[in-house]
């Protein structure tokens, strides 16, 4: 995964994680629906999405959670362990539409962001608590959440 391994001692409350950019377009949105086997038409059918009060098909909340899992597991490295993660789907996101069969139009790029809010030791394990979220192209956190991870210790 990463050449670099973060250790519990390297991290302080307030430490920010390097943001992870993400783009979702109509094609990747459908790819996601197929990959999880959850075929809710809200994620791909215009008319149904509108009947649910949306402007069009929306980005599946679980995809944004999977982005956050990627973001956190990438940061904790091979020796870290993700114990808990949660998020709220507060704001709706819409995938970019397609310019060509494979290329999205210009538009929004989302960022996974996070910072350390707590650190503690319990038994043998060295815990870090993170405040995380997916920020949309306008800088609004549509998907706030938190995570608890265990990092290796130098001790």
């Amino acid at each position: 995964m990463l050449g670099h391994q973060v250790f519990w001692e390297d991290v302080e409350v307030g430490t920010k994680l390097p943001p992870l950019p993400k783009i979702v377009d109509s094609v990747t949105a459908v790819k996601w629906v197929g990959a999880i086997g959850g075929f809710n038409p809200l994620m791909y059918e215009e008319e149904f999405a509108k009947s649910q009060g949306m402007k069009g098909p929306i980005v599946h909340g679980l995809l944004k959670l999977a982005w956050l899992v990627h973001f956190v597991t990438n940061w904790i490295g091979d020796e870290g362990t993700l114990k808990k993660i949660s998020c709220e789907y507060r704001g709706v996101d819409y995938p970019r539409r397609m310019k060509t069969m494979t290329e999205p139009q210009d538009g929004e790029t989302w960022f996974c962001k996070g910072k350390v809010t707590d650190k503690y030791v319990n038994g043998e394990d060295h815990f870090i608590v993170l405040e995380i979220g997916v920020e949309n192209g306008s800088g609004v956190v549509t998907t706030p959440g938190d995570a608890v991870v265990v990092l290796p210790s130098r001790g």
């Binding site: 999880i36 009060g53 679980l62 597991t73 114990k83 993660i85």
Partner: protein, 164 residues
């Protein structure tokens, strides 16, 4: 008001279903999430890791081996809520607790439950909040993970067109 017919489902469980964690499914999930971690696709590298083999990204629990059995409690609850006029159904959030890694080849048993039904005042009136919990065990009976999901059901603002 929580619809009377919805209350009976609180605490009810649905039959467990079996899920198979295949290498291809793991790879497609990780691809779709844009996660290029070799642990999810490169057997040689994964074998050198602390997991000893390809693992699934946390939050992926494979595909059902057979179609998911009739989810009487969950579907019954959702029908009761929809029949009471709450047609707009949205995922509100999700939490996972992870106990053990999910490895390629694992056979998981997922047991869903209706954890709670509550009401909440929102901008567009009363909303019904349905909470579901799913427990995942592996083939050895070890707990792998638990998921907590919240779904918010509200009445459409524009009630000109009623859909069921």
């Amino acid at each position: 008001m929580i619809p009377e017919e919805a209350k009976q489902f609180i605490g009810r469980t649905d039959p467990p279903h079996v899920r198979e964690v295949e290498a291809g499914a793991i790879r497609r999930y990780a691809d779709a999430a844009g996660d290029d971690n070799p642990l999810y696709r490169d057997r040689e590298q994964a074998r050198k890791s602390k997991y000893g083999d390809i693992v699934a990204p946390p939050g992926f629990f494979g595909w059902p081996i057979k179609p998911v059995p009739e989810l009487e409690a969950i579907m019954g609850l959702m029908s009761a809520v929809i029949n009471a006029g709450y047609h707009r159904i949205l995922d509100a959030g999700m939490s996972f607790e992870f106990f053990l890694p999910v490895r390629v080849g694992d056979i998981l048993i997922a047991s869903p439950k209706v954890a709670d039904v509550t009401e909440k005042e929102g901008k567009s009136g009363t909303m019904i909040v349905c909470s579901f919990e799913t427990t995942y065990l592996n083939q050895n009976g070890d707990p792998i993970a638990k998921s907590y999901q919240k779904v918010i059901c509200s009445k459409p603002r524009n009630t000109g067109v009623e859909k069921c």
